[in-house]
Symmetry: C2
Subunit: 416 residues, 2 copies
Amino acid sequence: MDKLSSWMERALKQLNLVSNMNQKEGFSRLGYTKEEKLSQHQFRKIAQKLGLETHQDSAGNQWAIWKVDEKVPTIALGSHLDTVYNGGGYDGVSGVLTALATVKALKDESVQPNRNIAIIAFACEESARFGVSTIGSKAICGILKTERIAHLQDLDGTTLAEAVDNCGLNWKKIKHAKLSSGDLEQFIELHIEQGKQLESTNTKIAIVSVIARPTRLKVTCQGMTNHTGTTRMGERRDALVAISPLINFIETKALEMNKRQKDSLVATVSKMQLSPNSMNMIPGEVTLGIDIRSTSAALKKEMTRSIDDFLEEIKRTRPVNIEIEKLVDDDPIQLDKAIQERLRDTCSKLGISSLTLDSGAGHDVMNMAQKWASGLIFIPCRDGISHHPKEHAEMNDLLTGTKVLIAYLKEIVITK
Amino acid sequence: MDKLSSWMERALKQLNLVSNMNQKEGFSRLGYTKEEKLSQHQFRKIAQKLGLETHQDSAGNQWAIWKVDEKVPTIALGSHLDTVYNGGGYDGVSGVLTALATVKALKDESVQPNRNIAIIAFACEESARFGVSTIGSKAICGILKTERIAHLQDLDGTTLAEAVDNCGLNWKKIKHAKLSSGDLEQFIELHIEQGKQLESTNTKIAIVSVIARPTRLKVTCQGMTNHTGTTRMGERRDALVAISPLINFIETKALEMNKRQKDSLVATVSKMQLSPNSMNMIPGEVTLGIDIRSTSAALKKEMTRSIDDFLEEIKRTRPVNIEIEKLVDDDPIQLDKAIQERLRDTCSKLGISSLTLDSGAGHDVMNMAQKWASGLIFIPCRDGISHHPKEHAEMNDLLTGTKVLIAYLKEIVITK
């Protein structure tokens, strides 16, 4: 396994386009940018070296296939290569890297699989650039709502449609990436946990049973701007003063709900914009972005309702107008029970400690699971830190994840 | 006076570069921009038509002088022509306009003054563009700290020094605008109140006794960013949740201080910046801008101290680091008592209602008053609204202000 781990060391840096994983500013490889394309190019180079057939679909997803026969089913593994701004080199890459390493190991052992094995590097999984996530996997599953998102702009004012076209793709044809249910038999994703539960319980593998998906609210509080020096305290319609209690209310409410039911929900005021945001002007308008996640749709509804009530109370007591827009409201996704069971068996046979977790973050597998039997494996990441230059996963843990994938696949693809 | 008021109607639009004062987006004529220069050009045209000598000093201040004799003292009137972003057409312009109208009236009456009368249109009074206010009048008074502010940038990244040079001036020579105390005898500014006290007491003129100047704080709260979906509520270092109670604390404290001493202080969290400010990321850093004003330095200190204590408490109870930077801390400015007295007499002789007020906002006169006997007159503005497209002053009130200036000057410049 030392040979495999040093191969993985090299491939990890290659996919991250660096010679050293210690990057002070982290990795900024956003979806549908030339940086993502460069990483995809490295993916194809590595896959071709392993003797896999590579191609790109019309959504920019990268495919590397070990094709044994047109007529046999295909098992897919994979994750994504894009990152957030100043993110880490393991979120996404870990799943692509371990999939490649798994195929390499099977080939080194001269395994003759009775299934085709496909590795997918999904395009634009992160919402960092356009505010919409998992675009590549949504396209494959045929659930991409192109009309709604074509016009979304990044910080430079480039629209999603333009960005896709700039990658040598054709936005109008992005839906052609859709596959029919017969095209795949199942899908398995490996990902870093982005949390502390494996680390704190000193467990090596988490098998995910359900994926929480966000409810996202945009709250706009409208007051009246005026001069900070000449407007008496009693004559103000300060939008910031009116809305700010919501921030602590949301934390308090979430903590209370988690006391009732341990770690059942997270809620965050993650975005905030003041207008005019000028030193001598009273804030006339404030917009907030709120991100609510739980594996229970009911708990998300409870939080949303209590936010509504709290804002009603503010409107009653402050001279402001408040509007709430529901940007996203997705129900949790249950993963395939049989696959979870088989993954658990695989771990115990290998003597690798495992536990069952919910996923607080969305992943490409949450789309794939709506069409194909799917599974999600977590490996530990240091201090639970992710989307940050400090994000780190140990090579030993990446190797352990790979061992699980190898054994899991052998169970299926080797004819006894 | 009808002739004068219709002349003022025209001049008001001319100085605002519009044919109609109703502008949905208001006026954006920032300091040291071509828009300010265009307005200054109109000022010179109007002044020259009145037979005044015009020139520009090395800070870009515009001068129009009715010179009767080198050897007699000079009385100066004036205000500024620049605005904030989407501001009103009366803040500043009112003082320049009424000064011009005053000279016109004196000339129409063929008054032979025994003083030179100067009108100053100060450059860049507003802090909107570079965060530093009253640059032109500071230069005249020799209190401009050029080293500290040369590098300050506007939204486009243009530095103050570059902006001044781009106006055909020379930043290195801006201090040459400094005058010696002998060059002027006194200075009078007329300005809109930017508050509601004249309106609510149905009074026509306010004579200002003291000008509050701001204390400005920059507070930086440093937590740790992480994924909103995977970081449990109990494991967070959310900088926004930690700092947000400060916003309501400042309002509560200010209201309490005003209860103790009516309308003695205003305090505002006017700026706020989250980082990364992304929907699926916990705020890792938040910076706030706080603006505190009072005519009592002691009350400003009391507010600043209680903010310090409150932040210490947050540091004790939340896993964040907080830094406070004092950007500005200026003491209040007392205006000349004799001039206040003479202005009061003038009003009563004219049968115009007047009251004495403090000014919550800074004005060019606060610099001039440090070198020359100075006075400040307020006229009403609708609903106290300023720095806003809705800012409005009635022509009748502008005319009343002009009458006061005319009578005040006659008292001084006509030899009995």
